[in-house]
């Protein structure tokens, strides 16, 4: 059984300077309550790995607006003008990664791989600092693993072992991030008893989850 906590309890041990993977795509499938609890806690100097910088007033974007993010690694920040400002002012370091490569890099971190080879980004600025490797006469970029101290992931429903189900497009980065972090906190809208989820409908095995935070659907 995994610890079931409030969002406040679940983020209590997150230290300044921690790296956190935050699932979600434009806030869909994002652990909004964990983020809000972390903002209230005041934790700062974070490295945040998230698909996008979201919106200034919601989800991961609020962490950026509140000045808690030292470095942002993601694929897109066009919907959060504050993120762009903080990047231009030098207040926040930004590493832009093509979305597919971002997913693979996180997956590498969780799956024990040392990297993957992809043609995405060849001949673009995304090449910068990356090794090029030839396989069978084709050139690829070597994309290396991403890891983090914590992952904030989100489910529509989970059981007390952390086995989780994500409705529709709320899946996105949840599985790969839960695998790639040292400590994964699962925010869930619904908590059921062990045995209630169909084993064939589990999108995220509970073995990747360290603690569960219950928070209403929002």
């Amino acid at each position: 059984m995994k610890k079931v906590q409030t969002p406040e309890e679940a983020v209590h041990h997150i230290h300044d300077g921690a790296s956190i993977m935050v699932s979600g795509f434009m806030c869909c499938g994002q652990s909004l309550s964990l983020i809000d609890a972390l903002i209230r806690r005041g934790t700062k100097g974070l490295t945040v790995i998230c698909n996008d910088a979201g919106f200034p007033e919601r989800g991961v974007g609020k962490l950026i607006v509140a000045g808690r993010v030292r470095k942002f690694i993601g694929s897109h920040m066009g919907t959060n003008h504050v993120a762009g400002q903080k990047m231009n002012s030098g207040e926040m370091e930004v590493e832009l990664v093509p979305q597919g490569s971002l997913a693979e890099r996180i997956r590498c971190g969780g799956a024990g791989l040392g990297g993957v080879l992809t043609p995405t980004g060849l001949g673009t600025d995304a090449e910068t600092g990356k090794r090029k490797i030839d396989v069978d006469g084709r050139k690829y970029l070597l994309e290396t693993p991403l890891h983090a101290d914590f992952a904030f992931v989100k489910s529509s429903a989970c059981d007390k072992l952390g086995n989780a189900f994500m409705a529709k497009s709320a899946k996105n980065f949840n599985l790969v991030m839960a695998m790639a972090a040292q400590h994964t906190i699962l925010e869930t809208e619904k908590l059921v008893e062990v045995g209630e989820l169909d084993p064939d409908h589990v999108h995220l095995p509970g073995v990747f989850v360290d603690s569960i935070a219950f928070a209403r659907r929002r």
């Binding site: 920040m77 832009l96 979305q99 992809t118 409705a167 899946k171």
Partner: protein, 225 residues
């Protein structure tokens, strides 16, 4: 993602582009439509052709926007707006979504552009010092899709050509663009450069050439759209 309301003329141009792009989508194809103008293509999909739309945030079978009362926060498109699923749709995580895109399973990607050049290079994600949006899934889409269609207005808001000899902006991908559809022209990228195959019904070859900063080869039997 919605900006200020567009003038009727501007909206008309965008609809024309979308209509022409829609005609390029093969029967039974899997298609990704980018945010903005490309999204309009969904309104003109040929019926009964079994075309399926993929959304890179994690599903196949993208359907129309729902009425506000039916919006589901767990079902959004890559722009974060509520959408629906068509019957036969299915959902998956980002790793599988980009395996679809990067593994050659996507037949067509339609996306906007800032610049396209004679070699089929595309720039559409960054204006240094100004727009810092990020590439999102664009680099993956353009590199992975079997066919890349850029759908954009022929000139930018300052009236300057967006089809150029050599992209000046940071590239999204090199030599991947197959077709450019604008409010004025349908242009195919070939090994020997840009081929003007069709022009809009209310323009002339001369106007297209004047508003293009790249060499255009004009197809002898030019069609109109």
């Amino acid at each position: 993602m919605s900006g200020p309301p567009l003038s009727d003329e501007k909206q008309g141009k965008r609809e024309r582009i979308a209509m022409r792009v829609a005609r390029e989508l093969p029967e039974g194809s899997l298609v990704n439509l980018g945010i903005g103008l490309p999204t309009l293509v969904a309104n003109y999909l040929p019926q009964g052709k079994g075309i399926l739309l993929q959304s890179e945030n994690g599903f196949i079978g993208l359907g129309p926007e729902p009425p506000k009362s039916k919006a589901d926060k767990d079902l959004v498109n890559a722009g974060g707006s509520p959408v629906t699923l068509v019957p036969g749709g299915c959902c998956f995580d980002s790793a599988l979504s980009f395996s679809v895109i990067r593994g050659g399973h996507l037949d067509v990607t339609v996306l906007g552009g800032l610049e396209v050049d004679e070699d089929g290079n595309l720039a559409n994600y960054l204006i240094p010092g100004k727009m810092v949006a990020g590439m999102g899934g664009a680099m993956d889409l353009v590199t992975g899709a079997k066919k890349v269609i850029v759908a954009m207005e022929h000139v930018n808001k300052f009236g300057q050509p967006k089809i150029v000899k050599r992209c000046a902006l940071p590239l999204t991908a090199r030599e991947e663009v197959d077709i450019v559809v604008t409010d004025l022209a349908f242009i195919r990228v070939t090994h020997s450069g840009l081929l003007l195959e069709e022009i809009a019904e209310d323009t002339t070859v001369e106007e297209v050439i004047e508003k293009t900063a790249a060499k255009l080869t004009v197809l002898p039997k030019l069609k109109e759209f």
